[in-house]
């Protein structure tokens, strides 16, 4: 520390007392950074740490209306895990997540690869077009798709009936097939957003590697598997994790599309929707907190898996770094 502090001593300062000078410099140096960090730390403390702690405490309590709470231990968690509705919500959310990840992300990657082709005209235009839905607030997305998905009058059913004469215009997007509708609406909204991530990742694919593979006689699929995929894996796994986190917290869209209900036979009930129902509609904030923590645990497991996966691909990334170093 003192060696670091030494340059702070002014050239003209008396040499007999360097120790005290450097000690006060030390002190100001150790206080000042904290001072700069203080607003951020304060906000984190007030709006993240305290509520987190509060939610933990709450999850072990039963609440019933204002000002009433009682410690119930882990009974909320037991209740959640043995609650068939929670599992319905979990299943729905899982299906939604799976749909988002397995449909949206490959599609986003496809579009990114299309746009990444050399010689495509109007790249910026298409990128903007595909990206722009994410700028639309979720409330408006819900309003738009609520109209589009209507039976009989909805544009989607009308369009499909126009294309396929056998299509049933009464197809109940918002009832029996609400998860499909949610996946499609989310696809529209976020595909372009994820595409931009992939596009950025694709621009990091070493050009020579693709050329080498081409010369080595690798076909499109082999080039994708051995060159593109390894290069975009770090970004890809991050996008997957973000999608899982986002999808697991899906709430606004079904809430708005189903106008506050949970859909036919709870087909539109999501975990956060159930959290809202128990906590804010029935006033059992403890139970809702337990549901919240359950999601948090599931997501933490997902994040852990992602870390493990990306640690596996670290070797290949290390290669790139080492190569960059070697160029010196």
């Amino acid at each position: 520390m003192s060696s670091l502090a030494a340059p702070a001593t002014l050239p003209g300062s008396s040499s007999p007392a360097p120790a005290s000078t450097s000690a006060s410099a030390d002190r100001s140096r150790s206080v000042f950074p904290w001072l700069l960090l203080a607003p951020f730390l304060l906000l984190v403390l007030v709006f993240t740490i305290v509520p987190l702690f509060g939610a933990t405490v709450l999850s072990t309590q039963q609440t019933f209306g204002p000002g009433t709470s009682r410690f119930v231990g882990l009974s909320n968690f037991r209740g959640v895990l043995s609650d068939p509705l929670f599992w319905t919500a979990f299943k729905n959310t899982f299906v939604f997540t799976l749909g988002s990840v397995c449909v949206q992300l490959p599609l986003a990657l496809c579009f990114a690869m299309l746009l990444n082709q050399p010689g495509i005209r109007g790249k910026t235009f298409f990128r903007l077009i595909l990206f722009s839905p994410v700028l639309v607030g979720v409330v408006y997305v819900a309003m738009i798709f609520f109209v589009l998905f209507q039976k009989r009058t909805g544009l989607i059913n009308q369009l499909l009936a126009g294309i396929l004469p056998s299509w049933d215009v009464g197809f109940a997007w918002l009832d029996q097939y609400i998860m499909l509708a949610l996946i499609l609406a989310t696809l529209w909204q976020y595909m372009g957003f994820n595409m931009v991530y992939f596009l950025a990742a694709l621009q990091n694919v070493p050009k020579e590697l693709n050329e080498a593979a081409k010369m080595d006689g690798a076909n499109w699929w082999k080039r994708f598997r051995h060159v593109t995929l390894p290069a975009i894996t770090p970004v890809g796994s991050f996008v997957v994790l973000l999608s899982i986190i986002g999808s697991f917290q899906v709430f606004e869209l079904p809430f708005l599309l189903l106008q506050g209900s949970t859909g036919v036979d709870n087909k539109g009930l999501t975990i956060v929707g159930y959290l809202y129902q128990t906590g804010f509609q029935s006033g059992d904030l403890g139970y809702a907190s337990a549901i919240g923590w359950t999601i948090a645990i599931v997501l933490a497991v997902c994040a852990g898996l992602q870390r493990l996966l990306s640690a596996g691909s670290e070797v290949s990334r290390g290669g790139k770094v080492a190569r960059g170093g070697g160029a010196k």
Binding site: M215, D216, A218, K222, V315, A327
Partner: protein, 383 residues
């Protein structure tokens, strides 16, 4: 194996920039050809057009007798080694080497056996299960080589393969490449901006600049008889000194007059220079051809510094008209900064060019005056 032929190749990019301007030359079957030139001269573009990675605007490329313009890269039967090795980061060394075989549908057992054999031929034993990230730069370059070798192609293409290595490793890899070429005898085209590398490796050097070929020839031809001022300046370390002036021929002989300095030239150059009397010319002298003289002849140089190289040193001086001039002299000579020295020019290592960056050679040591090609030995003996 096959010869390579470039015929009137033109490359024009979409933005209109001309990268390669009507280039034609042949590379004999089994030859090691180096494309040499500064960056941006079009040498890599030429190589990439041969590889099929870059479209050819006009002209034809032949591998053997076959015109390959319209073939995809994999169907040209040529292998390429890239500057940054282009190894597949998630595959082991063995799988990297075997990759071209896998892509061609060779069975697993066979391709692993062959990859191991090729790997061992480039000293990769014991590293075959590692990932590229765990290898040194030289080892990675060997993997890239092995991956090219395993295909048994008609030609190898090298795109500055050694420039990511440190100086020592570069030298040893250079020697290895040379030996490998002898052993395999495959036609090779090698792109570099390092003239030393070109000298060391090539059977044939193609010097390029601004999309055009400046000179094609054996390394010593290019060194001893540079076709124009550009080649003269690009080949050889330290670089040639250039002095602007005129030629005067009188009873005393042939002289190059530069800001009042008289530099005597061989009498037999007079013939070639007669038609250029009065026009501005450029005298080019290799630093190694500078001779210290005591007499009044030659030009005077003001010493600004010296760079010690062992038993020789490079004197950095200012010549006539404050032109910087480097002279390589014995390090035993006692010279100090600020001294003025007088030098004459050894005809071997001295050339006269027309003015301008691409001024053609008017005359020089051997080519126009002697029918005999200079041997390597005599060229070096002269220094």
């Amino acid at each position: 194996m096959a010869s390579i032929r470039f015929k009137n190749i033109i490359k024009r990019y979409e933005n209109g920039a001309l990268a390669v301007d009507d280039v034609s030359f042949d590379v004999a079957d089994g030859a090691f050809c180096v494309l040499l030139g500064p960056s941006g001269c079009g040498k890599s573009t030429l190589l990439r057009m041969l590889a099929g990675l870059e479209a050819i605007t006009r002209g034809d490329v032949f591998v053997g007798d076959a015109r390959v313009n319209d073939r995809s890269p994999k169907d040209r039967d040529i292998a390429m080694v890239f500057q940054n090795y282009a190894l597949y980061p998630h595959l082991s060394v063995l799988d990297n080497i075997a990759f071209p075989l896998e892509a061609r549908g060779v069975g697993r057992k066979e391709r692993r056996d062959r990859a191991a054999k090729v790997g061992s031929s480039v000293q990769l034993d014991g590293l075959l299960e590692r990932k590229p990230a765990e290898l040194s730069g030289g080892q990675r370059q060997r993997v890239a080589l092995a991956r090219a070798i395993i295909r048994e192609p008609k030609a190898f293409l090298f795109d500055e393969p050694l420039s990511n290595l440190d100086a020592k490793m570069r030298q040893s890899m250079r020697a290895e490449l040379r030996m490998l070429h002898r052993r395999l005898g495959v036609t090779s085209i090698y792109v570099t901006h390092d003239q030393e590398e070109a000298m060391a490796l090539a059977d044939q050097i193609v010097v390029m600049s601004a999309g055009e070929v400046r000179q094609i020839g054996a390394p010593m031809d290019v060194y001893n008889a540079p076709a124009d001022r550009f080649v003269a300046g690009f080949v050889g370390v330290p670089a040639m000194n250039f002095l602007e002036g005129r030629v005067a021929i009188d009873a005393s002989g042939v002289n190059f007059v530069c800001e009042g300095n008289l530099l005597p030239l061989p009498r037999n150059w007079g013939e070639a220079l007669r038609s250029h009397i009065g026009t501005p010319l450029t005298l080019a002298v290799r630093p190694t051809a500078m001779r210290l003289t005591q007499s009044g002849v030659g030009m005077s140089l003001r010493v600004r510094g010296a760079e010690l190289l062992g038993d020789q040193m490079d004197l950095h001086t200012l010549g006539p008209g404050n032109t910087p001039v480097v002279a390589r002299v014995s390090s035993r000579v006692d010279v100090r900064e600020g001294d003025t020295i007088r030098v004459s020019c050894d005809p071997i290592g001295t050339h006269i060019f027309q003015q301008g960056p691409f001024g053609l050679r008017v005359c020089g040591n051997w080519s126009e005056t002697s029918n005999a090609e200079p041997s390597v030995a005599s060229a070096f003996a002269a220094t």
